[in-house]
C-alpha cells in the first residue's frame, strides 16, 4: 500500500497525463458518428451567440455582394413564376416540401469533417436529417438541433453521402468528398458502361426524404477510371461555393414521418 502511494506520488504527472488523454480519446471516439454529436448541442447554444455576433459584422461588410446575389435569385424566381407551362404534378409536388430560410453563422471548409451552424433551431421547426440547400445548389444535412441554432453537416465532410442523378441519362450515383478541396467532390458508384463527359450535370435524385428532386449538385470536372467492380468515379465541381455561403434554405419534408413509417414496415 505504501509502495503504491510512493508510486503514485512519483509518477503523478504521468498518471494524470494518461487519464486526461484517455478522457480526450473517449470524447473523440464518442463524437465520431456524426449523429451522436451530443456535445454539439451544448456548444451550439453557448457558442452560437458568439458566432452570431461576428457573423453580424461579417454580413455588414458583405452587404453589397449579398444584395446582388439575392436580387439575382429573386430574378430567377420571378422568371420561374412567369412560366405558363406548369407540369401536371407540380402543384402537389410543392406541397411536399417547405423551405425555411436561415443564415449561416459559422462555416468551416478546411477541416476534414466540416460543419455549418445556422441561426434556426427547434423552435423554427428544424429537425435532424433535414436537407439544406442554397440558391446555387445542395449544401448538406442537419445533424444536430438546439433551441435557436442547428449544425449542418456540409457536403465537405467524410460522412456525407448525397444521392444524385445524371440529368442526361437519369443514372443514379453517390457524391462524397475526398478531403482535398472545397470546390471539388467525388462521384462514386457510376456504372462503368455509361458514358460520362466533363460538363455533365448532376442533380439530387429525390430518393432521400431530405431533398427534393432536381436540386443542382454540380458538374463533372474530370472523368476517373473504373475499378474492379465495374463502377467508375469522377471528379465533381460543386455548384455551391462553400466559402461564400451566407443564406441557405432548410428543406422540410411534410410527409417524412409517413414515408418513414412505410419504410419500417418493409
Amino acid at each position: 500500500m505504501y509502495n503504491l502511494f510512493i508510486f503514485i506520488r512519483k509518477y503523478n504527472a504521468v498518471i494524470l497525463f494518461i487519464l486526461l488523454e484517455v478522457l480526450c480519446i473517449v470524447m473523440i471516439v464518442q463524437s465520431l458518428p456524426y449523429q451522436s454529436r451530443k456535445m454539439a448541442n451544448v456548444s451550439n447554444s453557448i457558442t452560437g451567440g458568439v458566432h452570431k455576433t461576428t457573423s453580424n459584422w461579417h454580413d455588414y461588410l458583405h452587404l453589397k455582394s449579398e444584395n446582388e446575389a439575392l436580387s439575382e435569385h429573386n430574378a430567377l424566381l420571378l422568371k420561374r413564376l412567369g412560366c405558363e407551362e406548369v407540369e401536371a404534378d407540380a402543384e402537389y409536388y410543392d406541397d411536399i416540401f417547405t423551405y425555411i430560410p436561415a443564415r449561416v453563422v459559422n462555416n468551416n471548409i478546411y477541416e476534414m469533417n466540416n460543419y455549418i451552424v445556422i441561426d434556426k433551431g427547434s423552435i423554427d421547426g428544424i429537425e435532424p436529417d433535414m436537407g439544406v440547400i442554397c440558391d446555387k445548389g445542395v449544401v448538406g444535412k442537419v445533424v444536430n438541433v438546439s433551441k435557436h441554432y442547428a449544425s449542418v453537416m456540409s457536403m465537405l465532410n467524410s460522412y456525407s453521402i448525397i444521392s444524385c442523378r445524371f440529368v442526361d441519362n437519369q443514372y443514379v450515383a453517390n457524391v462524397v468528398w475526398d478531403n482535398k478541396n472545397y470546390r471539388y467532390g467525388l462521384v462514386k458508384d457510376i456504372p462503368s458502361h455509361i458514358v460520362i463527359k466533363a460538363g455533365d450535370t448532376l442533380v439530387t435524385s429525390g430518393f432521400s426524404n431530405s431533398f427534393p428532386a432536381d436540386v443542382m449538385v454540380g458538374t463533372i470536372a474530370e472523368k476517373g477510371d473504373a475499378d474492379e467492380n465495374m463502377f467508375s468515379t469522377a471528379k465533381l465541381k460543386f455548384s455551391t461555393n462553400f466559402s461564400t455561403l451566407r443564406h441557405v434554405y432548410v428543406v422540410k419534408n411534410n410527409f417524412k414521418s409517413e414515408i418513414d413509417s412505410l419504410c419500417i414496415t418493409h
Partner: protein, 170 residues
C-alpha cells in the same frame, strides 16, 4: 503573485478569443491550420508543477474544442504538448541556464532558443492533432504535410503575437 495570475488569465482569454474568432476563420488553404493558442502553455513559468501544466493544457484545449465542435481533439493535442514541455526544456537547456530565469519567454531566453523550443513543441502538438483528426495511418502523407506546413506558420504567427504584446521597457 497576483500579477502573474491575472496576466495568465488574460493571456488565456485573449489567445482563446484570437484563435476562435480570427485564426479558425482565416483560410490559409487545405494544409495550413495555425493553432496559436498553444502559446499560453509555452509561456507558463518554469516552476509550474507538471500536473498543473497538464490541467491548464486540458482546459485551454477543451475551450477551443467547444467553439470548434470537435470534443477532445484540441484537448488531447494540448495535453500532449504540456506533457512533453519539461522534456523539451530539458534537452534544449542546461539546468544552470534556467535557475535564475522565470519563464521560457523571448525576453528571458532569447529569440533563437525560444524558436527552437516552440517549433519542437508545435510540431508534436500538430502531429497529434492532425493524426487524431484523420484517425487513420492511411492518410499519413496528408498528416505529415499538414504538420510540416502548419508548424512553421504557427511559429511565425506566435512570434508576431509576442512582439505585438511585448511590454514596453521603462
Amino acid at each position: 503573485m497576483y500579477n502573474t495570475l491575472i496576466r495568465n488569465i488574460l493571456r488565456f482569454i485573449v489567445l482563446l478569443v484570437v484563435q476562435v474568432l480570427v485564426f479558425d476563420n482565416l483560410g490559409f488553404g487545405t494544409y495550413i491550420h495555425p493553432y496559436v493558442y498553444v502559446l499560453f502553455v509555452l509561456l507558463l513559468p518554469f516552476d509550474t508543477p507538471r500536473w498543473r501544466l497538464l490541467i491548464y493544457g486540458f482546459l485551454l484545449g477543451i475551450a477551443v474544442d467547444i467553439f470548434n465542435g470537435t470534443p477532445g481533439l484540441n484537448a488531447a493535442a494540448t495535453v500532449f504538448l504540456a506533457f512533453m514541455r519539461p522534456y523539451i526544456i530539458g534537452i534544449t537547456t542546461r539546468k544552470s541556464d534556467i535557475e535564475d530565469k522565470n519563464a521560457p519567454s523571448v525576453t528571458e531566453m532569447g529569440l533563437q532558443w525560444f524558436a527552437i523550443y516552440a517549433l519542437l513543441l508545435i510540431l508534436l502538438h500538430n502531429l497529434v492533432l492532425f493524426w487524431l483528426e484523420a484517425f487513420s495511418i492511411k492518410l499519413l502523407g496528408l498528416i505529415l504535410a499538414e504538420t510540416l506546413l502548419s508548424a512553421p506558420v504557427t511559429l511565425l504567427l506566435i512570434i508576431i503575437i509576442i512582439y505585438i504584446f511585448k511590454p514596453v521597457k521603462k
